[in-house]
């Protein structure tokens, strides 16, 4: 590992100032579960490492009438274990958080870090996109909001410029009769990467017979998480039955763009998109049912 300068700001303002000076040669450290490995294996050689962990104003989770706010330091394990979050309409985040890495990794990793890393197989990105999450971004004289979905440009690539920091995520409240779930297919029960990860948000009418709105997000089967828009529009406004779900799942397969790699063939991944979409829609409906009670 190469030598680097380690900096520990205590406010967002201070972090922005340091990051602006460091520019491209600086990297942000939150949980460190990605950056430390990159540096150890020589994939990153930053001159400066800016440790955000001591910026207390970014360490929060807030459930409000109008939605959910997650600070940049909110850890994956926090999301997994938080009772209020688990009991909320956003419990898909708790579930997805529980599928990421190992307990040790989850204790360190942050949700915002998982987003900013922009790995094609990231576990939190599909559910955040399905929930319509937006990121608050602060930089030198810049303050903007971007949908998580719009942030993703490619594997490891986001719209973030050097000097810009995601300070929090905000998720709008969900309408009634909405269910959201995440299904991860991987060889092992824990500490594994998704072969396919699918998140679905489903809004139905009050007796759960018709679909009002749907978002289907496919992870690990393209350079970034993919919205299966054709499958979504197929469901929207239609009656919900097994054939319909089956057809949506098959449509989603055509929208996925998996590659052959050491973790699975494209053939297998396409097959798994169908299975995962089918199962996730069913689970989302179950969520609606639970919410109705």
């Amino acid at each position: 590992m190469h030598d680097f300068e380690y900096l520990r700001p205590e406010t967002i303002e201070e972090a922005m100032r340091i990051y602006k000076n460091g520019g491209k040669e600086a990297r942000l450290l939150a949980g460190g579960t990605e950056l430390v490995n990159e540096m150890r294996f020589g994939k990153s050689r930053p001159e400066q490492v800016i440790d955000l962990k001591h910026i207390r104003e970014m360490d929060f989770m807030e459930l409000r009438e109008d939605g959910l706010r997650l600070g940049a330091l909110y850890r994956v394990r926090d999301a997994e274990c938080s009772e209020p979050l688990r009991m909320s309409r956003f419990n898909v985040l708790s579930h997805a958080a529980g599928t990421l890495g190992s307990p040790q990794v989850r204790n360190k990793a942050t949700i915002v870090g998982n987003v900013c890393r922009a790995s094609p197989s990231a576990d939190l990105i599909p559910p955040l996109i399905a929930l319509g999450a937006r990121a608050k971004i602060k930089g030198d004289g810049v303050e903007k909001v971007a949908a998580v979905q719009e942030m993703m440009l490619g594997p490891g690539k986001t719209i973030l410029e050097p000097g810009e920091i995601v300070t929090e995520l905000e998720i709008p409240n969900l309408p009634d009769y909405t269910g959201c779930s995440y299904c991860k297919l991987s060889p092992r029960k824990s500490l594994d990467l998704a072969v396919v990860g699918v998140a679905v948000m489903l809004q139905t009418d009050s007796n759960m017979s018709r679909c009002i709105d749907a978002r289907i997000v496919l992870g690990a089967v393209g350079p970034t998480a993919i919205r299966a828009r054709k499958a979504e529009s197929l469901l929207r406004g239609r009656g919900l039955n097994e054939d319909m779900i089956e057809e949506a799942a098959r449509t989603a397969v055509d929208e996925s763009k998996p590659l052959d790699d050491v973790r699975g063939s494209a053939w297998y991944r396409k097959k798994m998109v169908e299975v995962a979409v089918r199962r996730t829609i069913a689970n989302s409906l179950e969520q609606v049912r639970i919410g109705r009670r």
């Binding site: 190469h2 029960k189 990467l193 699975g264 053939w267 299975v275």
Partner: protein, 789 residues
């Protein structure tokens, strides 16, 4: 062995292995004794090679070939030498140019250079090594070494390698055949003609990485006294000592090998590795200690691995399920060098006849050089491959004949005192009882939910390999027991515990024989200058071979003690004495006795103040070619198959393993669970993915091992046996347990969803493809390939 003195048993056996009678007649054996080195391991205070630092120590790194096959035109080290912090660089020119191999008597099997001089033969072959003030500096220097290669066409598959005109990996090997093996008895061709039914099937057994927690690591320190001391993570300090001496041009006595606590071996640390050679070469140049620790990636790409095998099996049976003949043809992917691979080739052929009585049997195996990482020993040593294929096929045969899998195994099972013609004599054998136990277990599990299935596989293994690769003139195992004045005992043995529990086993055997307690014994292992020579940890040999040596040494010391005790107790000469639980007593009159501690004091006083020393040794004589004893068992695995994803979930496993007298039930359970984890990974998940000879997943992210949540509940079924050749009747419980699992799982998958996977691993993708094919097939008439005579 079994004396009449049973009154002293106070502790009830709290173990699960109540079938082992050991605890009823012994005071130490059969008890659940925690590992003697367990506390320091779990508290992190055990110092492994990777943890060690010596004063003035440098750090080394090894430059490895990026090509699977290339000629080395030139190596220029100037730029690297000029890097501040670099102290020395060695290349092939700094070696004696000898080739390493374990078969010292067969030059053509010694085929691996310390550092390649003319040619590299796999991605990872070492070409240079650097010693520098720290690892980063050494790493940086590697990038500054300029190697000019002439890239040659490589051959990465054994079938391709045997073709005419294929690239030659080694000049001496025609068609790249490294070695071949033939085993035959009976009249195979005639027997097939008499069979009612014959099956022919092909299988593929994939590779597997040892995945030790401690990667290969060595510190070498060559001093101005011209003597070399090496601390290394290995499976035999003796092999390292003599092979290192030979390759470096030193006398064996000038090389001292110390093996600190060792973080796993599984066969992977049996061959010598580049950390041992390169750190020694560098230290000899500098007279400073040099430490080399392999990265996880190096551990994956540049050591050895389980041998991939292409299997073709022909099996003939009578209508009633009697197996008349078996013909086995195997081609193994040897990789670039021999390693211990020739033994895997032999053993897979021998164990393909296990655990059944084949009157007629023929095996032909070819080990073929390829431009891939060498393949060698790994837990089971050829037997897991043999038993995956054999146990899959016997289930298919049973189905063809309309016989159930238990019955066909029982009909052909090996039994005590069976002779494998020309090969081996089986003494103890509890296989029929194991089959009964598993049959009961399956009945107990009752009817299964849909997509669940139970598969069984029977197996056997050697208990102490009789392979004198190294051509040693020493005993295979030896021990020294020293009794000190306070009654404490020092036990010296060359036995190697890489985590399997050998230390505890040997301490227990010593304590049992001497009639003392486990904590009276201090164990001294892992130092060639202190411990007697021992061949190391392989071939499931430690319990039987070292156990016998330790028992003999303890008995020798005890005999000396009892001479003094006899003088004190003055019994009638027809009575004899023994020691139990710190009491020296008349065997037939236990109430007449004296304290062990008093006897020790008197004995040492009476011996002119000299401590009591007992010596023991063991070498198998007239025990066949393979092993003095064999263990047997049957495993049943219940799986659940997700027919959408093809994923196989492990639900429950039961194993009836007979290992003679159980020395330590916790040790046996630990070995069983560890073996199942390793073998289930081999069956379902672990796979070294390669492209043009390059391993694509050399890390634990993409080379997947099962984790604790994936493991099923495990049950041990009790089967009692007594092995006359083993210490107190004990035999192996280490490698054999790795053998049945892949076959049992493949059979379970078939029983669950009706698809037969014949190449490992049984991945979700293969299962799903097979399920789809089956769907298509079910619309067509059954056209299964069955050859009938």
């Amino acid at each position: 062995m079994i004396d009449e003195d049973k009154t002293e048993i106070t502790e009830e056996d709290e173990g699960d292995l109540t079938g082992a009678l050991a605890h009823k007649i012994h005071t130490v054996l059969g008890k659940r004794i925690p590992a003697v080195d367990g506390a320091e391991k779990v508290t992190g205070t055990a110092i492994y090679t990777v943890d060690m630092t010596l004063p003035n120590m440098l750090h080394g790194k090894i430059l490895r070939s990026p090509h699977s096959h290339a000629r080395i035109i030139r190596i220029d080290t100037k730029r690297a030498e000029n890097l501040p912090g670099v102290k020395a660089i060695v290349t092939g020119k700094d070696t004696l140019g000898k080739k390493n191999g374990i078969w010292r008597r067969y030059a053509e099997l010694c085929d691996e250079e310390i550092l390649c001089r003319d040619k590299v033969r796999y991605v990872g072959d070492p070409v240079a090594a650097v010693a520098a003030i720290n690892e980063d500096c050494a790493e940086e220097a590697l990038a500054l070494i300029d190697v000019t290669y002439e890239v040659l066409p490589g051959v990465h598959d054994p079938m391709d390698a045997m073709r005419k005109g294929a690239p030659q990996v080694h000049n001496h090997a025609e068609r790249n055949v490294n070695i071949n093996r033939h085993i035959e008895w009976g009249d195979v061709d005639n027997a097939f003609a008499r069979c009612d039914h014959i099956r022919e099937d092909s299988f593929f057994c994939s590779s597997q990485h040892h995945a030790c927690m401690e990667t290969h690591a060595t510190i070498a320190s060559f001093g101005y006294d011209r003597k070399l001391t090496v601390w290394t993570s290995c499976q035999s300090q003796y092999y390292v000592q003599i092979l290192l001496a030979g390759m470096l041009g030193l006398r064996e006595g000038d090389v001292r090998v110390i093996r600190p606590p060792t973080g796993g071996g599984f066969g992977g640390k049996l061959s010598l590795d580049s950390t041992q050679f390169c750190s020694s070469l560098l230290s000899m140049k500098l007279c400073r200690p040099v430490k080399i620790v392999m990265t996880r990636e190096e551990d994956f790409i540049a050591t050895k691995r389980r041998t991939p095998m292409h299997y073709r099996l022909k099996l003939g049976a009578l209508k009633d399920g009697t197996l008349l003949a078996k013909e086995v043809k195997v081609v193994t992917e040897g990789g670039a060098y021999t390693g211990m691979g020739a033994t895997a080739l032999y053993l897979t052929g021998f164990f393909s006849s296990f655990p059944y009585k084949y009157p007629n049997y023929r095996y032909d195996g070819f080990r073929v050089y390829t431009n891939t990482e060498g393949t060698s020993a790994m837990r089971g040593f050829g037997a897991p491959q043999a038993m995956f294929c054999g146990e899959s096929q016997i289930d298919m045969m049973a189905e063809d004949l309309g016989i159930d899998p238990i019955t066909i195994r029982r009909r052909n099972s090996m039994t005590p005192n069976y002779t494998v013609p020309g090969q081996a004599i089986i003494r103890s054998c509890g296989l029929p009882e194991c089959i009964d136990a598993i049959e009961k277990y399956i009945k107990k599990r009752g009817p299964l939910p849909s997509n669940h299935g139970i598969g069984v596989a029977a197996y056997g293994f050697m208990s102490g390999g009789i392979f004198n690769w190294i051509d040693t003139p020493y005993a295979f195992a030896a021990a020294i027991v020293k009794i000190n004045v306070d009654g404490k005992v020092d036990l010296f043995t060359g036995a190697v515990d890489t985590g399997q529990g050998a230390n505890t086993t040997l301490v227990m055997i010593c304590a049992e024989e001497l009639g003392i307690h486990v904590d009276d014994v201090r164990l001294h292992v892992g130092d060639t200058s202190v411990c007697p020579v021992d061949l190391g940890n392989w071939g499931s040999r430690t319990t039987l071979m070292n156990g016998n040596a330790v028992k003999m040494a303890a008995a020798d010391a005890k005999r000396q003690l009892l001479a003094y005790a006899s003088a004190q107790l003055k019994p009638n000469i027809v009575y004899d004495l023994d020691i139990k639980d710190h009491r020296v007593h008349l065997v037939s009159r236990p109430e007449r006795g004296i304290s062990y501690f008093e006897v020790v004091k008197d004995a040492i006083r009476g011996n002119e103040g000299q401590v009591i020393i007992g010596r023991g040794h063991y070498t198998p004589h007239r025990k066949g070619m393979i092993s003095p004893a064999y263990s047997f068992g049957v495993q049943a695995v219940e799986v659940k198959v997700d027919t959408d994803t093809g994923k196989v979930e492990l639900v429950h496993v039961a194993t009836a393993h007979e290992s003679g007298t159980v020395v330590n039930p916790i040790g046996l359970e630990g070995q069983l669970e560890g073996a199942f984890h390793m073998a289930a990974g081999y069956a379902l998940m672990e796979e070294l993915k390669m492209k043009d000879g390059k391993i694509l997943n050399p890390n634990f992210r993409d080379y997947k091992l099962f984790l604790a949540p994936d493991m099923p509940e495990s049950e041990v079924l009790e089967v009692d046996t007594y092995e006359p050749e083993g210490p107190f009747g004990a035999k192996e419980a280490g490698e054999g347990l790795t053998n049945p699992t892949a076959g049992a799982i493949a059979n379970a998958v078939y029983n669950a969803v009706g698809v037969r996977i014949k190449d490992l691993p049984v991945s979700p993708e293969k299962v799903l493809r097979a399920l789809e094919e089956k769907c298509l097939q079910e619309e067509k008439p059954d056209d299964l390939y069955v050859a009938t005579s």
